[in-house]
Symmetry: D2
Subunit: 337 residues, 4 copies
């Protein structure tokens, strides 16, 4: 029977790594639903144009996540299915910034140059959940425009394997800071379990984000989020995959960006081949003509690409024991707040 | 007054480079319309599963283009506006293949490994223009599916500057083998002029293509294509840009893929800043939240990314002297065959 | 007063991560000397041509290190100086292999292709410490040749910061699997301390290695190694640096390889500028003409480059409080076994 | 019988592309020797700290080469052997600079960021050929140091194939701006012939250069250079190779830098395998332990890596019909000026 867990972490309870020795914030059963609060990537302390992140935030206390959640019965070699039932901004404002030597159109700690950083600047956004918009306001002119609200979570992941612990800002095979706009309500995320309990966590809500998150910072917001959870036993998922009502998607997180593309397309070719019985080259050919490649982020410690294909192009298939359909159903029952 | 040029090159007239000493196939005036035939990337010789490209094609006679067209009055420092009025498959079949050591999921001449190539194989597609579909047929099983027909040109470009000549399979600042599905009917391409006459050429028709062209080969087809041409004097375009009724787009072609992303996003941030009066960081912020990044190719000599933004998010602006609107109008008049 | 610690870990004591909850294998004082045994990267179980690594090794129990060593008084913000007094092969044989989908001339888990892996094969090497050679013997012909013995450690590092734990096979800012042939006797390594005690560890001995470790596997050997340790208080080192009698060296570990180059050169430009009082561009110019860039590895999770400059080109300078000179002296006293 | 050609091009005779319609500056026979003058990369117009390249140079008239030389009898599929007999600075000064948005520690046109460029600055070097030194002088302090004179040519190449013409600043399979310090006197360069006559050209003398040419500009100098030429019929060389008395070397020019590494190591593995009869994996293993990877440039349109192995590690072999030994002998006869 579905249990609903409501979790609002205190500041001290926020987590900053996937993996490591932290105790779970809750233990849940497969089939349960979690209503959680997630703080924004700045820990909620950037609240006006005067709050420069480098002055009000303290490394490494960035990008807090809510979790980890221990899923009873999850063991290495299984797959967690995390379905986003709803993602709702918790405040009527959100924030974006530049951040020194972070982003795609600046040199960085790794694409290191001798140039000074770009100016650090803050943009405040009004958030209107009812109307489904956020308002961009230029800082050096009067220009202002409403953009569609499209809430998503930048960060979702589990504890990595091999005894590793990773900062929440890193995307990799265990998930983490994937920063894909596709992580919106209606999407199911499949992630391979590496440690007992899986230990998933979620954070980094965005009211919306451009492809690649080119400035390095989206429209950052605290979120009230409902997640429905299932466990697929005995099936491992090497890189996070997504499913929606209409699409199957694989991810890859790596540098250079073409390796993220290769990983995601390679996984999708293999996945579709396995589901359909197409031989490898036939599956490659189909994805080659029908596949999409939505860019997630080109700014994080690894860059993330998604490979997707419409289910309509595939024969009738059962994916992960039809977990997505069941989770949709659960979401319909438990989605209202 | 608009002149309509009808060009169907003989095999000997096909071109294989942008730039070089080749005489123009036609001289046209700004405002003219060209109805052209383009051969497929294999020169039309891969016509069945038995026609392996490495056996029936001969390097460097791959990826022929129709052109070059000399645009009267075009001088270095100007911009050509090439508007795709219509792109129609010329045959009721199209073809795709694997090609040894070419594509994103194989080692290549440059991502060189000691592994043998993937098997070379041919896929034949039925093309139904009336119904707007192509049919994928697996080669090792009975699976078959219709995919939407979405005709585009992989290759469009001008002569490069600095005395260079480049194979048509290379995408770069002069255009070339961009392999973006956005090069469909309704799109205007802006390319900077580097030599007198501009010397544009077009080829490599695709009935459709996945994002990144992951196999290296799309659904390749000969095309009957109508292009309307304008010339913008005294304005140079450093990297090809696209405009549709709803979007502005910049391209970048480079390796690694993140540099293609950087070039395209950088160009769009500057372009939008110039059009709107937004300061650089305000424009960067807007693109960061509203911008898209459709992947073109991750297989060619350079990889190509597109950066796009919806015009609806921008204040009322005039782009390239409203060339796109005029070309749309010309297209409506001259688009029927 | 210098204390000499002799450490030969049992198999159960071997470590497979930098960072994490493992207890230190020993606590030492700055100024102490450690005589340690390190097992080879295969845990010593690949001993003949029949011992294929994928059959006799078990992931993630690869690349064991000896440690971690807790250095009393080491705090975040300090720098550890680890001086290799001697590195001596512990056995009269060493081993190399190919490993499926690992190495620079094969597709990998990240540069993912649809090609099968290269054949897994083992090469056994005779090691003659007295004569200073190892013997390469071809597996498919009679060809054989002696190569100079040049012992080094592929892996040396400390616990990373921000609560992270990383597999020992990863090179990054905390050191780890740098796989640089410069990590030989006579070299001092400087690494920034991120956690109390620093928690350094060493492993992955190589009898020799080509630049880039192109096959992914060097001439792997267990080693008897003597290390002299100092602690520089209040000075942090962002990326590992090396010093020899004649050179200063910075490292960078990243992908793509040009970012590893950028990080290492950027660090060296800044370091030399700080030491000499040269302004940034003057230091950049000097390194630009006098700097070298020895390649470490182009196969690991991050690629590693070294930037180096001869001390003879610099004015008389004191580096890290002259730690290298003192450690050389300590090494002369305690280097004999 | 060896003919000696003495060529000092007028400014109008300088070439700026490999390939294209330019007439040869001379026709020579295999076996001949060329004494040539090459102008520096700035065309000789940067002569003091006040001569900023962006003010005194005019794109694309950068990096002039002396040539092209037509080698009688050279046909596509052959290999040219170009042996540097001597490279002598033609003036008692040389020059280096920063150049806006060019170099490894700055954003560039392709690694595009929104940051302003680094300051453009000129460094003048005194050149003392007799003593074999150049003098570095800091611009913002009194520091000065002599560095060894190590003259080399950054640019050597032939006309590319497939009808292409490339700016001289581009390194690729046809050679070009490889910017490797190994292109010094005593080195033989092998390059595949793509057009009748081969059409080689040489330029971009450097008094010395750091690995990677990190600032983008070496110690640039006009040179008096003696080159001995042979032609190997019926053997094609896909990427430029070098030979010295002690080493065999392959090059690769590509982005990202790991692809340049892969190409060069792949070529060397295949080359050594072919010369020695080692099977592919045995050759891979030998290069893996014995190979070096000297970095050439990490700043040009493609990055260039060299893979090298000592001949002493190989069985007695004949390389390119022993062209290097003969060219050394020719050099001894004709090397004096």
């Amino acid at each position: 029977m579905t249990e609903v867990h409501t979790i609002k972490p205190t500041p001290e309870q926020l987590a900053y790594t996937f993996g490591g020795q932290r105790e779970p914030i809750a233990k849940i059963n497969p089939g349960d639903v979690v209503r959680m609060y997630t703080e924004d990537c700045f820990g909620g302390v950037v609240r006006s144009a005067a709050d420069l992140p480098t002055q009000v935030c303290r490394f490494p206390y960035l990008n807090p996540v809510t979790g980890p959640f221990h899923v009873n019965g999850a063991e290495p070699g299984d797959t967690l299915a995390l379905h986003f039932v709803s993602i709702t901004p918790a405040r009527d404002w959100a924030v974006s910034t530049t951040f020194p030597h972070f982003g795609a159109l600046t040199s960085t700690s790794h694409t290191a140059t001798l140039q000074p950083p770009l100016e650090e600047r803050v943009w405040m956004y009004d958030v209107d959940v009812a109307r489904g918009v956020v308002r961009y306001q230029a800082t050096r002119s009067d220009f202002s425009v409403e953009l569609p609200l499209d809430p998503m979570h930048g960060t979702v992941g589990v504890a990595p394997g091999a005894g590793e612990a990773r900062m929440t800002i890193v995307p990799d095979a265990h998930g983490g800071n994937l920063d894909s706009p596709l992580l919106r309500a209606g999407t199911t995320v499949y992630i391979g379990v590496n440690v007992d309990g899986g230990m998933f966590a979620i954070g980094d809500g965005h009211c919306r984000q451009g492809a690649g998150e080119v400035t390095g910072v989206a429209v950052e917001a605290a979120m009230n989020t409902v997640v429905a959870v299932e466990l697929i036993k005995g099936v491992y998922t090497p890189w996070p995959r997504f499913e929606t009502d209409t699409e199957l998607m694989s991810t890859g997180s790596a540098r250079p960006l073409e390796d993220a593309y290769r990983i995601s397309q390679h996984d999708l070719v293999g996945w579709v081949g396995g589901l359909t019985g197409l031989d490898t080259l036939d599956s490659y050919q189909l994805i080659g003509q029908a596949g999409q490649a939505p860019v997630a982020n080109v700014v994080d410690a690894n860059y993330t690409m998604v490979a997707s294909v419409e289910k309509a192009y595939l024969p009738t298939i059962s994916v992960y024991e039809d977990a997505h359909a069941r989770l949709r159903e659960t979401g319909r029952e438990y989605g209202t707040e």
